[in-house]
Subunit: 302 residues, 2 copies
């Protein structure tokens, strides 16, 4: 509880098809990937909703990683279920179905204890729900936030309200361009700073990530992997790992801390994409993260 990170977002089932095979109704959702990723560095507590079809085996990966599920509401009905199919390069997914089910009426209500959270990761959900969470938390020292193209189109004003209360804003390069109308990512990042975010991290997929902040502008390559299995959840894993690491620090808002967080996010994402669902991510062995961090550091060293 010392380094609690409240993770608000979706816990879902995914049915994914790609060149390696098919995973049927496996654990997915932004809050799942990001909280399990954060669990290696901090104490995440998930605020989400699932249906009555969500079984004990489905929550096993959270329990294994010590993720607090007190905030996981169970509603009569079915759990959010997404189905998608990737092209042979595992790059682009075509959505086959999006059954929101009980997630449609998700309305995060924090317990008195959750309102005291020192760090919050607002995974990709309706920005109005993100605002509602921000109203409830009392005095967080770190507010991290993710979003997606759908909300940029449909709820731009709400996103801008969220931004004004955000320390660390995560989005991918297409979303950064969409939100700002700027192609150059440094220019886009600076515009998002002007809108109110303290630090912007632009996720570059297979090309790593970029920080745009008053502290500095940094682009890091990914932790490179030859054998990629499924890229679902990579961005959520990146954000959750980076936020979990920062939440564990006494002082997180320095350039060196944020650079280290990006490095950690990149390494955590490399585990997420080595299997379907959170199978690999939830089962990282002692020393494996440290080993990849060392390889990564040595790759960048001159």
């Amino acid at each position: 509880m010392k380094n609690q990170v409240l993770v608000v977002g979706s816990v879902a089932f995914d049915t994914v098809e790609n060149a390696h095979g098919r995973a049927e109704r496996v654990l997915g959702g932004a809050a799942s990937y990001s909280s399990i990723s954060a669990s290696y560095f901090a104490d995440p507590a998930v605020v989400a909703v699932v249906g009555t079809d969500f079984a004990a085996k489905d929550s096993a990966p959270f329990k294994k990683r010590g993720v607090n599920l007190d905030g996981l509401q169970v509603k009569e009905g079915k759990t959010f279920h997404w189905g998608g199919s990737y092209d042979k390069d595992l790059k682009n997914a075509v959505t086959k179905f999006t059954d929101l089910n009980v997630f449609q009426d998700f309305n995060p209500t924090l317990t008195p204890e959750q309102k005291e959270a020192k760090a919050v990761f607002l995974a990709n959900i309706d920005p109005e729900l993100q605002l509602s969470v921000l109203k409830q938390v009392k005095n967080p020292k770190l507010v991290a936030c993710d979003t997606m193209n759908y909300w940029i189109t449909s709820k731009r004003d709400a996103i801008i309200k969220v931004l004004k209360q955000t320390d660390l804003f995560f989005l991918n390069e297409a979303e950064a361009r969409q939100l700002t109308g700027e192609y150059n990512l440094i220019t886009a990042g600076k515009k998002i700073l002007k809108l109110g975010a303290e630090h912007v991290i632009i996720k570059l997929g297979p090309n790593g990530s970029m920080l745009v902040s008053k502290l500095g502008i940094v682009q890091f390559p990914p932790y490179i992997l030859e054998h990629v299995y499924d890229t679902t959840g990579a961005g959520d894993t990146f954000g959750g790992g980076a936020t979990g690491y920062l939440a564990s620090l006494r002082k997180w808002d320095t350039l060196s801390a944020i650079k280290r967080a990006m490095m950690i996010g990149n390494v955590m994402a490399s585990f997420a994409i080595e299997s379907f669902s959170v199978k690999r991510l939830a089962n990282i062995k002692e020393g494996e993260i440290e080993k990849r961090l060392q390889d990564y550091t040595s790759m960048l060293r001159f």
Copy 2:
């Protein structure tokens, strides 16, 4: 002459249109960008052909940078002239015309002195011409080679012959995928090693570059710039700078030397894209390269 690099390729005129304006019949061509880039680290000598319309002012940037033009043949007729127009993001160019002119019959013939070259940069030309140069040079300690999609389609067998004699093979990510049929760039790079190259450097455009070699696998971000003026020649500048730096070393084939060369290639490319033609690249002031190398190193330092 101590660190001579023979640069074989095109010296051309470019007419470029982009969001910043229009440059009419300015100095371009792969050998121009790469030799001028190499000139900051070694002693490049260009082997190329121009027409009788190539004036003293057109060779001024080479002279300023001490590039040896003894191998620049002048043929009756017009110089190779390329015209292209970039989209507003400066990312993709549409070719408006390609007037090969005297370049159509380019047949590089080396002088006895050039045959003794210790390093060769074979810029993007017909791989059969690259093979002809490789037959003429006697005992180079470093053979670097670039290519393009056109030759991969039309002269694949010749490229594979070139690869068997190449120490350092440069190509961009689309070309690496085209040549090998592999999407993952590490897998693609390894296939190119199997075809015969000693080290493969995959150029990632705005995302930097990747090395695939028995010495290691490395991905570096670019030297990031907010204000990009014209990306023509960036890849040639990268390859020429990296090769020029390696040619200046007593022992170039170590991981740390090649990493440093990639870093230098990235920094040199950042100058090339700050103006039309070689205007910025040929006029880098004392200390500017060192400054960017320091900023770049500090960005990657933890």
